[in-house]
């Protein structure tokens, strides 16, 4: 990944598992199918003559609008997943995300209150997990999805140990 303007210089970003892209594409696909089925239903009804009173612009416009946004989001997905990065430094953890709205976050180990690892059913099927760091500030909002399970567990232990060693109060 090319280093973006707001990324600190000389940081080697770690990337999330490539399987995470497949997971995101799968859930994106499910979402697309369901949305198109729901929004396309009136169009089918109208074309088959069951519901002739339904306005044509709405019947065509709605599914086309949703298809376009979903297609756009689907096209962005690979780049979005590639834009997720993390780096463990001596004193803090760096997290980055986003293509259009980018964010680079610095969480000092000493400020971490606790670390969560969550695994959903789809994630379990892919062998992935989601790591979440909590500080005393709700704005920290530091989630890291798409880690391989082993890496998530290692990171959790590592972060907890680091946090304990450097723990500061509030």
């Amino acid at each position: 990944m090319p280093s973006e303007a707001i990324d600190p210089a000389t940081v080697q970003w770690q990337h999330v598992s490539p399987k995470y892209l497949r997971l995101r594409l799968l859930s994106w696909g499910l979402e697309t199918v369901i949305t198109l089925l729901v929004t396309g239903l009136p169009l089918v009804l109208r074309l088959t003559g069951i519901w002739p009173g339904y306005p044509a612009w709405l019947a065509w416009g709605l599914p086309i609008f949703f298809a376009a946004t979903l297609l756009w989001r689907g096209l962005l997905l690979p780049r979005q997943v590639r834009a997720i990065g993390y780096a463990e430094r001596n004193e803090d953890l760096l997290l980055r995300r986003g293509i259009f709205f980018q964010r680079t976050l610095v969480v000092p180990y000493g400020r971490m209150q606790y670390v969560d690892v969550a695994v959903g059913p789809l994630e379990r099927a892919f062998g992935l997990c989601t790591l979440k760091l909590h500080t005393a500030a709700p704005g920290t909002n530091a989630g890291l999805a798409g880690l391989p399970s082993a890496e998530g567990a290692r990171l959790r232990e590592h972060l907890s140990a680091r946090g304990e060693a450097q723990l500061a109060g509030l």
Binding site: A5, I6, D7, P8, A9, E91, D92, F100, F101, Q102, R103, T104, L105, V106, V107, P108, G110, R111, T135, A136, A137, P138, G139, T140, A142, A168, G169, L170
Partner: protein, 549 residues
């Protein structure tokens, strides 16, 4: 235990000092026996309402108050009696099963009748202590004590209700133990028989006129004018008077907003002791909050547009235990100053930021609260940011001192945010698509929940990246030499190294706020060096009230 348990005989020796015999378990005490009544008066009021309404309605129907006769009367009275007994029993049980204990390190509360709850909080984790008196409790001379820790939600320990004197004594004792002070009240003045406010010194008191004027000129008025203008425009456009009806909820909404601002800011007084800063305010419900030194996570000095006429500012703070509630009570207790002149703002800042980490704090903070451009060393947004913020470009900026980051923004609604380096939780750079085109970025500092969300807006992207790096470093260094949680134990180098008080950190004296033994001189704070014209000694025009609550 008898009804007088709240002031049991064991209290006096215990309150006398933190050195009771180690082996003896401190006594368990109960809250005041009237307290369930004060808390549960709503149930009684509801009962009275239902019974009374029946009586009145039948009275209107029959032309007179004909009481039910014979057996009907008997059953009514029986039902009423049973209800009263049940309520009284519930009150008694809830009182009986609520007990608290204060040891040297912990406060413990046991409560609940069916579901028992035992809660214990470490004293040195205290973030703030409030003594709150709702109107009814005030009538009974009772008060509620709230012990806040950093869980951002409800109070860790709520003792409702104690006698006001007992609550004050408990607070003094908790703060004494939490501070890790080696001895009790070294100055020893005024705590004989009055253990409430030894060495407390009033810094600021706002007159009722100031509070009323500040409410009338507040941002609420700007919104009200906009709302009325909107309704009038709508009426003119549609030609219907129906939208006038929309005024009714608007008036009610704004009326209650005005009332909240007024009643919570009424009689505002700030004072300082070695226990920290104590703020008192309230018209009907009163509160006294005590925030120990170093518990303020971030603060913001704000000025809505109309306050420019009298030149007033308000200060809000993030305190970890207070959370981010938006109702009247929550905003009241996060307000360090409801409406003050710039001189009063500097005086309050001197209390919460004893070491501003700059040579000329007066100039720096004056530039922060009302200045524009690069004066006093502020780094402002580059010229290309005018596409995003045409008005506030020269106001948006930041300044780093040795101890804090100052971020100012807003052209009409001015605001200055201050985050001590040692209180920075985490940091982030954010950049949207337009900002990236203009090579700008925002630096977000994450703070505990509260009214202040510190953010440095629209600075040059390279500067921002550099700032992120430096700020992470500064926060790390500041954390290392941070004030210990027990603020009187050992030395707090970051706060004790201020030039005027730059003596060797003598254990009992590195208190960052005004030493209680100096009644006239200002706090030894660089924001208000004794010679500075803006920060005269804390004025206490009237006799500091004898610990009003």
């Amino acid at each position: 235990m008898s009804a007088g348990a709240t002031r049991g005989p064991g209290e006096e020796p215990e309150a006398a000092g933190p050195d009771p015999a180690v082996g003896t378990e401190p006594e368990w005490k109960r809250v005041h026996p009237v307290s369930p009544l004060v808390r549960g008066w709503i149930a009684l009021a509801a009962l009275a309402y239902f019974v009374g309404r029946d009586q009145v309605e039948s009275g209107f129907a029959g032309g007179g108050m004909d009481l039910p006769a014979g057996s009907a009367l008997f059953w009514t009275l029986l039902a009423l009696g049973v209800a009263l007994v049940v309520i009284a029993g519930a009150f008694f049980l809830s009182w009986w099963f609520t007990r608290y204990q204060l040891t040297h390190d912990h406060i413990r509360v046991h409560s609940g009748v069916v579901v028992r709850r035992q809660r214990q909080a470490r004293l040195d984790r205290v973030q703030a202590i409030d003594i709150v008196q709702p109107l009814l409790a005030r009538i009974f001379g009772l008060a509620e004590l709230r012990f806040e820790v950093a869980d951002a939600g409800e109070s860790a320990v709520r003792l409702a209700f104690l006698r006001l004197r007992d609550a004050q004594q408990l607070r003094a004792q908790i703060l004494e133990d939490a501070s890790g002070a080696e001895e009790t009240h070294p100055d020893g003045d005024g705590d004989a028989g009055d253990a409430t406010v030894p060495g407390e010194q009033q810094v600021l008191a706002l007159s009722a006129g100031r509070v009323i004027a500040s409410v009338l000129l507040s941002g609420t008025t700007v919104l009200l004018v906009l709302a009325v203008a909107g309704v009038i425009a709508l009426t003119a456009l549609t030609g219907e008077a129906a939208s006038i009806a929309a005024m009714v909820p608007i008036i009610f909404g704004f009326g209650s907003a005005y009332w909240n601002l007024f009643s919570s800011g009424f009689n505002f007084r700030a004072s300082v002791s070695r226990e920290g800063i104590r703020l008192r305010s309230g018209l009907l419900d009163t509160r006294a909050s005590t925030v120990p030194p170093g518990r303020i996570q971030a603060l913001a000095v704000r000025q809505p547009p109309l306050w420019r006429i009298p030149g007033w500012y308000s200060i809000s703070v993030n305190v970890a235990g207070y959370g981010a509630g938006t109702d009247g009570a929550s905003t009241a207790r996060t307000r360090l100053l409801p409406a003050g002149t710039s001189e009063e703002v500097l005086r309050m800042l001197a209390l919460v930021l004893p070491d501003p980490g700059t040579g000329d704090p007066v100039e720096v903070f004056a530039a922060g609260i009302s200045g524009t451009g690069p004066a006093a060393g502020f780094t402002v947004s580059p010229r290309r940011a005018r596409w995003l913020s045409p008005l506030s470009r020269r106001r948006n900026g930041y300044l780093v001192t040795e101890t804090a980051l100052l971020s100012r923004h807003g052209f009409l609604w001015r605001s200055l945010q201050v985050v001590p380096h040692s209180r920075t939780q985490s940091l982030a750079l954010e950049q949207g698509p337009v900002a990236r085109r203009l090579r700008l970025a925002d630096l977000v500092l994450h703070s505990t929940p509260g009214p202040v969300s510190p953010r440095v807006v629209e600075i040059d992207a390279d500067t921002a990246r550099q700032l992120l790096h430096e700020q992470a470093l500064r926060a790390r260094t500041a954390r290392r030499r941070d004030l210990p949680e027990q603020w009187l134990r050992g030395s707090g180098p970051s706060l004790a190294k201020s030039p005027p008080a730059g003596t060797a950190p003598v254990p009992p004296s590195p208190t960052p706020v005004a030493p209680p033994s100096t009644p006239v001189s200002p706090p030894p704070t660089p924001v208000s060096p004794p010679s500075a014209p803006v920060a005269p000694p804390p004025v206490s025009k009237e006799e500091p009230p004898h610990e009003h609550r």
